[in-house]
């Protein structure tokens, strides 16, 4: 085994996590010279995490008036999409006598397509809105514990 590693400093506050599932369904029958078809069915579970970048908070984004605080936060972003190897499972496969079974590389390519479809559906899932809502809740509670009476949070 060989490895390369790089470290990057972050400052993300993860506030929302969605667990989603998807069925991966494919039929390999589009190549005219390959006789017979083969089909595969897999299930896939992905964990999506969203939150805010705390490094974007500068003194200009904070207004304090005695025990009242007004905080401007950046909009929520997708922090990660995590599809663990064990969360992609082959459920069914069938191939014609004249066809080879799907290789691990082909199965991985299909799972990658599913990963891309999940990434492209982020906006419709509402995770970013949930990320902002939870960030508001967490930071409001945290600042209240620090002694502030009125906490106002808005996103820009």
């Amino acid at each position: 085994m060989q490895e390369v590693m790089a470290l990057q400093q972050m400052s993300d506050l993860a506030t929302a996590q969605y667990v989603v599932t998807k069925i991966i369904k494919a039929n390999d029958n589009q190549t005219w010279y390959k006789i017979g078809d083969r089909k595969i069915l897999m299930s896939c579970k992905a964990t999506l995490t969203a939150g805010i970048d705390l490094s974007a908070i500068t003194p200009n984004n904070v207004h304090i008036d005695d025990k009242n605080i007004d905080l401007q936060l950046p909009h929520a972003k997708l922090i990660s999409i995590n599809i663990k190897p064990e969360d992609v499972q082959q459920v069914y496969e069938s191939e014609n006598l004249l066809r080879d079974p799907f290789t691990s590389e082909e199965r991985n390519t299909l799972a990658t397509q599913a990963e891309n479809q999940i990434k492209n559906s982020i906006d419709s899932l509402g995770i970013l809105e949930a990320g902002e809502k939870n960030a508001t809740l967490f930071i409001t509670n945290f600042l209240t514990r620090l002694g502030y009476k009125k906490v106002t949070i808005h996103f820009a």
């Binding site: 085994m1 590693m5 929302a16 908070i57 899932l125």
Partner: protein
């Protein structure tokens, strides 16, 4: 004879025109990629939300890693029962070994789970604050399907066998990150981040530990 030849030529020309029209309306592939296999694409199935959780994790370090991992399945003997008793001393004839080599790129997110922050961990006195942060931990290890490349694959590898190889790669990634002291580094960044945040929300004297 000439009449027959003309008929044949018209017939061939007619076939060619039909093929060209079919290619234009995508019923047949073009001549240039006629022997290129069509990519297998998945259906656009719905995405179902199974769980929604609220978190309060402060991610302070991301470690990117690239690892090559291989696995070999020894070939089984072709004849489980010796053909002749006298041949038993000879080396058994086996199927070829199955081998897979994967290249995996992954990332690890390390930081602190602020949900573990208790009332006693925060002490405020006027413009001074003292906070004891929970222990740093590896919050996520991400090895998505798009992070893997199959460099070599010989023989038949089932889904569960490949998953086991990928998990082996992920465990190696975690072990390497721990050797690189990812957690102390994440703790140092978390302390600085929290100190900056507390100063930006108005505290003059800040103690983070």
């Amino acid at each position: 004879m000439l009449k027959l030849l003309t008929k044949c030529l018209f017939f061939v020309a007619g076939i060619l025109v039909i093929i060209l029209i079919c290619q234009r309306i995508k019923l047949l592939p073009s001549f240039s990629n006629i022997f290129i296999a069509q990519p297998v694409t998945i259906d656009n199935t719905p995405i179902l939300v199974k769980e929604i959780n609220s978190l309060s994790q402060l991610i302070t370090i991301t470690a990117y890693s690239e690892i090559v991992v291989d696995s070999i399945k020894k070939g089984k003997p072709i004849f489980t029962i010796p053909i002749l008793p006298s041949v038993t001393i000879a080396a058994p004839i086996k199927y070829l070994d199955d081998e897979i080599v994967l290249i995996g790129k992954g990332k690890m997110l390390a930081g602190i789970d602020l949900a573990a922050l208790k009332e006693k961990d925060i002490y405020v006195n006027d413009d001074s604050v003292s906070i004891t942060l929970p222990k740093t931990e590896i919050l996520q290890v991400i090895t998505n399907p798009s992070d893997f490349e199959t460099f070599d694959e010989k023989g038949n590898w089932t889904d569960s066998e490949v998953t086991a190889v990928k998990i082996k790669l992920r465990n190696k990634m975690i072990a390497d990150a721990m050797q690189q002291n990812i957690l102390p580094k994440a703790t140092a960044v978390a302390n600085v981040m929290m100190e900056n945040f507390l100063r930006s929300v108005g505290f003059k004297k800040v103690n983070v530990q």
